[in-house]
Subunit: 303 residues, 2 copies
């Protein structure tokens, strides 16, 4: 199944050099999830030809403006464009207050149900699941309460060996049962065990999103063994003191987290406005973790 | 003195077709005023190479998102970029609540003073003046409380006739006094009246900004005899019923307002997302008021 992330913003705090504040669009089997929603996220969706109305869940990590200021505009536009299907939002409790206040004063009564789900910034918990994935939030360590998110594919059924279907004349309606473990008896009365008709299911993949945080090992347990890890890398390591003071991470530290958490691929983003050129951040991270990529606007990464 | 307006957004309700929601930058003698601040206004300022930190006053007409959702992001960025000089904001009282709530939850403590001035959507009043201009707000007629703004240059001193300075050897320190009406006695003892040494001052110019409103004659008194009138023109006149239902104006009606209010130049904007091409709106307005222009992104108009 499709499992990929498209980057809509790579900038920390302020938009600059054609970089936008943080937002990412996750495609999970052609269902769409938005992760954070900095100002002008709806413009970015338009710009990249992505349909905002296909988004059904929005996860907001914390209440610094560069991670959520585009939310009310996006929700309003969906309303004005006639959305009727529900939208699920996951975020800090105060976010609901912010949304409600603005809709109250603009006298906006959404045409679609907005389901608000409060995240807990102090402990890890499963906050959402559907047929395809499970989403867990976990605490990060920032200046204000902040959560990361882990998106893990559900365990799939075993895969049918196509040749066996033909060979044994297996009816279509039996295939699902066999994938789930049922045996199959052929016309001659011979019993075939499910394990002989199928191969192992694909290993469930995981995408981990670590927005703003000081580099710490407290959240290592929640992010380990992912297939792709997004981790903020606001500064180069020569700015470590500044990173610690502002509860952010350096590119080298992000690579260290990637290494220690045993991910396969690292995406770095949330770059300080001081860096017009991003290559030094990439180079620094790669010294420790070669499979690192810049999470910049318009890039799509397979998880 | 310089008195001109640069358009940062021309779209109604949602960003589309590279059109942004409403915002305008007014240059009054090289001092800058922002009028409305739709989402991504700070991106538009960056895009057009305009320095956000030169803005000292922001006027917000009403609390529909397309007129103010860029404000908190802009104020945050100014803070993060080290602004220390005060910012004056003029808008509905509820706007303060919206700003305060978001800064409280992001734990943002601005490094610069933010002076909030409440506008009154039910009666016209002078809300600001400096050496160069006077700003008045006046009621418009929209779905929620909404004010227009009138920016009028201050009456200037009379203009000195340069030749007289040389001819009569008038000392520099006397010039200001003469402009203010003082007589001048030359070396031979002859008294010259101020009116003979000066010419009439330039007539003070006025810019009127009518954001969202149903077309009505209630606000005609407040907008008459302007040099440039910005008036919303959300729809073509064949959509009059829809315009009235949503408390908006058609291009033809905007032209009628221009005509009746005796303005010299009409700018139309706030175009519905249904119009990819804007020429029909311009053509329609011009049938009644030929000196009409499309107020689109990046255009600068002398008042």
């Amino acid at each position: 199944m499709k499992f990929e992330v498209t980057i809509l913003g790579s900038s920390s705090s302020t938009p600059i050099f054609n970089r936008n504040p943080t937002a990412q669009l996750l495609n999970v089997n052609e269902k769409f999830i938005l992760i954070d929603c900095g100002e002008a996220t709806q413009n970015q969706l338009l710009h990249f030809g992505l349909k905002a109305n296909r988004i059904d869940q929005i996860f907001i990590s914390h209440l610094h403006g560069d991670h959520y200021l585009g939310l009310v505009g996006l929700l309003s536009s969906l309303h004005l464009n006639g959305r009727t299907k529900p939208m699920d939002i996951f975020g800090p409790p105060e976010l609901k207050e912010i949304i409600d206040l603005q809709f109250r004063h603009s006298q906006t009564f959404l045409r679609y149900p907005l389901n608000f789900n409060v995240t807990n910034p102090s402990k890890s918990s499963k906050i959402f699941e559907n047929y395809d994935i499970v989403v867990e939030s976990f605490p990060l360590d920032h200046r204000i309460p902040c959560t990361g998110f882990r998106f893990t594919e559900k365990q799939r059924l075993r895969k049918m060996i196509k040749e066996k279907i033909e060979e044994l004349n297996i009816p279509t309606e039996q295939v699902q049962l066999i994938k789930k473990g049922a045996s199959f008896t052929d016309k001659k009365g011979k019993v075939h065990l499910a394990k002989d008709l199928t191969t192992d299911a694909d290993r469930p993949k995981a995408y981990v999103y670590c927005s703003d945080t000081i580099c710490s090992w407290k959240y290592l347990d929640f992010i380990k063994d992912s297939d792709t890890l997004y981790h903020e890398a606001t500064f180069l390591h020569d700015m470590l003191a500044r990173a610690e003071e502002t509860f952010h991470t350096t590119a080298l530290q992000a690579a260290e987290v990637a290494l220690k958490s045993n991910t396969r691929k690292l995406l770095i983003g949330h770059f300080s406005a001081r860096y017009r050129e991003l290559d030094p951040l990439l180079t620094e991270a790669k010294t420790l973790f070669p499979n690192t990529f810049l999470a910049i606007e318009g890039m799509t990464f397979e998880i």
